[in-house]
């Protein structure tokens, strides 16, 4: 528990840093980019002892189980796909949102706490050879849903 709080604090500081320095409070691009570079580098380390992934779905499963466990100390609650490059990852108690009390006012602030993770997932997938767009959706705190759309070209 004690070592987990460090990550939470760091994340909160990153969010603060990114949004305080920019004029626009809704500018999440920097935050997402920090996540992207982090994920891109981190996945290299996390997949060190993992066998090669057979396909896209296997990669997604790795993200939802091992990757999520290593970062958020829990697995995602649900992974769904339409088999056409659209994946929906649901986390019913997303780590960065669990410390926020539920409410309409707090819900407005939710996007800045999920932007980093969107980038993190996008970066990890990108280094594994999957070009994707990741968006997040928060309907009620602390549940969060990530939509991963694979860009095939």
């Amino acid at each position: 528990m004690s070592e987990e709080i460090v990550f939470d604090c760091l994340h909160a500081e990153i969010v603060n840093y990114c949004l305080n320095n920019s004029k626009d409070q809704h500018d999440l691009a920097t935050l997402e980019y920090i996540g992207f570079t982090t994920g891109y580098r981190l996945i290299e380390r996390l997949t060190r002892d993992v066998t090669r992934f057979k396909d896209e779905l296997e990669t997604m499963k790795f993200i939802c189980t091992d990757f999520w466990t290593l970062i958020y100390k829990k697995q995602v609650d649900n992974l769904r796909t339409n088999n056409h490059g659209m994946y929906v990852v649901q986390d019913k108690a997303f780590r960065f949102l669990t410390r926020i009390s539920p409410g309409a006012k707090q819900l407005e602030q939710a996007p800045k706490f999920v932007a980093f993770t969107c980038g993190l997932v996008r970066g990890a997938l990108s280094n594994l050879g999957i070009n994707s767009t990741v968006t997040a959706e928060v309907q009620t705190i602390p549940a969060c849903r990530f939509h991963i759309e694979v860009n095939r070209s």
């Binding site: 580098r41 290299e44 380390r45 997949t47 993992v50 090669r52 057979k54 280094n127 594994l128 050879g129």
Partner: protein, 138 residues
């Protein structure tokens, strides 16, 4: 004693190359380049052979004077090691250990926030460690 360690990026661009014998560097580079085709062949998707799921690819090919080993990470970065055929001290297990160490060094280098992914690896720390790895085995 020739010994060469190369790191090749996702798009087959060389990221790093170290040889123990500067005079034969070009010759060794040719071997590394030739090995890339074999690596590609071994990594073809759809092959269900269990050994193809491992990151370590084993002996890619051998010529009269050299043996070439390969390794591909999950992010499609390739490591190639060229050693002398006469070098009998390096067996399968030792080569495996070299790759494991190399992978560890590479991940450390990539996690450096000042390194831009896809650029040449110019980290001194990485270079020193690889040189040490070479001198320890050659």
């Amino acid at each position: 004693m020739a010994f060469c360690i190369a790191v090749i990026g996702k798009d087959n661009a060389p990221l790093y190359l170290a040889t123990s014998d500067l005079e034969r560097e070009l010759d060794l580079q040719y071997h590394v380049h030739a090995a890339l085709d074999v690596v590609e062949e071994k990594c073809l998707v759809g092959k269900g052979a269990p050994e193809s799921k491992e990151l370590y690819l084993g002996l890619l090919f051998s010529t009269e004077n050299h043996k070439i080993y390969g390794f591909v990470t999950n992010s499609r970065v390739k490591f190639i090691v060229v050693i002398d055929s006469s070098n009998i001290a390096l067996r399968e297990n030792e080569v495996r250990a070299i790759f494991r160490n190399l992978h560890m060094l590479y991940t450390d280098a990539v996690c450096n926030p000042f390194y831009i992914p896809g650029e040449q690896l110019s980290s001194k720390k990485f270079d020193r460690a690889v040189q040490k790895l070479m001198s320890g085995n050659a």
